[in-house]
Symmetry: C2
């Protein structure tokens, strides 16, 4: 059973916070939080009502599972010191773009637990609608990680490291870049004194549509209609926003190519 595992969270950012709170709510025992910055460490530790440390040496040595959710650039540096003296434990990271093999030379039992979601500190996450992708060094570890993920969400998939880095790239387009399209839309409306709220029904319908139609079939608008007249007017409206104009041109062209 997963809920008798003793878990240490390495990292105290958005992913560690939301994952930690959700696992604790499911009965898992979070025993400690580590973060390089005292402010983040203490904030999450307080949320979870557990101790924290800002020194890797002081990380508990007798946990069963270490969940590492730190910046990608930091992960490599953390691994050797973290694993040392804790060789029997299971180590996982949560980053979509980092291969499982980063653990290979240090750890014996390791894996990846990648929740493909957009986490903001300010917003509660409903994990029951998060897709999890898991990968592990062995069969026993895979079973445990699947069980852990399935305690949070019914949408648990296996994905190898190669698939996962494409998942992460695909998520950047579907989430981060999509959100930026919303942001550009909001900035245009703001300049005209129009409420962004008026755009929400269209945003919702655009998302709902691709539950039923493949996105390429769901495409509408001047680019796919090849309505040069409208596109020229739009580009003229963006003359004072050269970056937005360039984005408009590139995406429109790419819609027509696809």
């Amino acid at each position: 059973m997963v809920n008798n595992k003793r878990i240490v969270l390495i990292g105290a950012g958005n992913v560690a916070t939301h994952l930690g709170l959700a696992l604790q709510a499911k009965g898992c025992e979070i025993v400690q939080v580590y973060s390089r910055t005292e402010e983040s460490a203490s904030e999450l530790a307080e949320h979870l009502q557990v101790p924290y440390t800002i020194s890797l040496v002081e990380v508990s040595v007798d946990a069963d599972l270490y969940i590492v959710a730190v910046k990608d650039a930091v992960l490599q540096d953390v691994i050797p010191s973290l694993v040392k003296g804790r060789e029997d434990a299971l180590f996982v990271h949560t980053a979509g773009s980092i291969p499982m093999d980063v653990w290979k030379t240090s750890a014996r039992r390791y894996g990846v637990l990648y929740p493909m979601q957009t986490f903001s500190k300010l917003r509660k996450v409903d994990f029951t609608s998060v897709s999890f992708f898991v990968e592990a060094s062995g069969c026993e570890e895979l079973v445990l990680l699947k069980e852990l993920a399935m305690s949070l969400s019914p949408k648990v998939y296996e994905a190898n490291s190669e698939q996962r880095r494409y998942l992460h790239l695909a998520a950047v387009f579907a989430c981060n870049f999509t959100n930026h399209m919303y942001a550009l839309s909001a900035s245009l409306l703001e300049k005209q004194g129009l409420p962004f709220d008026a755009m929400l029904p269209l945003i919702d319908e655009t998302a709902r549509k691709v539950h039923e139609l493949p996105p390429a079939q769901a495409q509408t608008g001047p680019a796919i209609r090849r309505d040069e007249n409208v596109m020229d007017k739009h580009l003229a409206m963006l003359l004072e926003e050269p970056s937005m104009k360039e984005i408009y041109e590139k995406i429109s062209k790419n819609i027509q190519e696809l």
Copy 2:
């Protein structure tokens, strides 16, 4: 009351089809459909169980309201022949990007009824969650158009022509370009044999988030974190997709600028 008005639909594309069906369902009398192409005209006419014509001369002369939902480039050509002999009627177009004044030299009573939504032939539209933007030549016409729009949706706003063309441009970003981000995401997943369905929870959450946070505050991902390491890896993965690579670069740069 709007539901004793006799309405002619000029155009038989996605907007005319969905709007016509919705108005008829609300008790409005659609008396005729016009389209240049017989196939579209007859298809929509059959849906609505009304007569159709492919000749502007044969368009009914005694309707109260002519709703023109044709391609932007065609609108200007249609107006003079449509208004001639029907000078007492109210004429509206549904295009976000065309100013109301296109009617000025021909018609006496005119306006705009802009449903800001993405219409696909294959998908039913729930008009109760569509934002409508109306504008009219006079007070009486404005009241009638508001009433007509409010029979379909509670979200009815007034917007002048200048505001409306920015609305349309903003909608291209929030809907058409967003959908293209979904399409690029889907193409990446397909190449890895991964189901696009796994991306839907993330797409939904990305849309839900901006109901609570302004998009600029909701932004996550490698660009806003300035995680050059991840971005470099992503760009390397897109080497064989130069258009996608360029889009990745431009949007990431713009996220950092905003």
